[in-house]
Amino acid sequence: MAQRNETMEPTREVHKAGPKTCALVAVVLAVITAIEVGLFPGYPLYTEALRPVLVPLFLLLGAGKFALVASFYMHLKYDTPMFAGIFAFGMTVGASIVISVIQLFRHFHF
């Protein structure tokens, strides 16, 4: 008979990101998003001098947010490296597809 007691013992997963870590990561994510939006042309943090580095800046800030969510909320920081390996493989192939398609479109007229 299945036990349905709602105060069952906690599982071994409890040591993963708790409320404090989640809240701290949330604040950092919100700050990075605010910086991203602030750097958009016409917004307070934007200056013409930043225009040449705007693409790398947006990509870097986005990558930072991506890494935070994947590490703490998706538990890649705490779980077995196998999961990080599987995801990294997908990301590597995915990034290769993105770069290949963009380069193909640049060099050939479709």
Binding site: R4, P10, K65, T80, I86, R106
Partner: protein, 204 residues
């Protein structure tokens, strides 16, 4: 042998896995890795067309304040989802329900924002039929919206199942797997927001 409960509350006995990890979790990670390729292709198509198709004033079409708010809402839904997973593993089932419901509501909020955005795009003449950039944009964001919709339905079903004893600390893995899917939907939006909206509207 490891014992756990199925979503219907039945006791299940699992043999040790060859990886030492729950196969359901391994399967979800494999699915997410394959979904990266799917979204990678769609993002690449959008970028490639945005560079080649002239006269697509994305900076005039996109409403950055609304999209920024949507991005923030989806980020915060990841926080509530992470807290729901933590609550489930900690045996705090009441808290888990609150966080699950909060995640669902934030997801619905995001979808409502997307619907509002799409409506105004079409009013401004930016439709899937206007040019290849429009097609690529609506295909990419539409598929992302479909992923969010599936996530909202999945999380709401877990919320309902928790009242029938379907979710307990022993089978909190179901919440964790749904959480992985939800966080993936969030990280995809992080990339779309940066590449399509911020970079797209800054340069096109």
């Amino acid at each position: 042998m490891e014992k756990s409960l199925t979503p219907h509350g039945h006791e299940a006995v699992h043999p040790p896995t060859t990886t030492g990890e729950d196969h359901r979790k391994v399967l979800m990670w494999l699915f997410l890795a394959s979904d990266v390729l799917f979204f990678g292709s769609l993002i690449a198509t959008f970028v490639a067309y945005a560079q080649r198709v002239p006269h697509t004033p994305l900076h005039e079409v996109f409403n950055i304040p609304i999209t920024s708010w949507s991005a923030f809402v989806l980020l915060m839904s990841s926080v509530t989802m992470a807290l729901a997973v933590w609550s489930a593993h900690s045996g705090k089932m009441g808290l888990m329900r609150i966080y699950l419901l909060a995640t669902v509501l934030l997801g619905v909020h995001f979808l409502a924002d997307q619907g509002y955005e799409f409506y105004h795009f079409t009013l401004d003449g930016f439709t899937p039929r206007v040019n290849p950039v429009g097609s690529a944009f609506f295909t990419l964001t539409g598929f992302h919206g479909a992923h969010v919709t599936v996530g909202v339905l999945w999380l709401f079903s877990l919320f309902l199942a928790s009242f029938r004893g379907g979710i307990t600390p022993k089978n909190a893995i179901w919440v964790e797997i749904a959480g992985l899917y939800w966080h993936f939907v969030d990280v995809v939006w992080i990339v779309i927001f940066a590449v399509v909206y911020l970079i797209g509207a800054s340069f096109y």
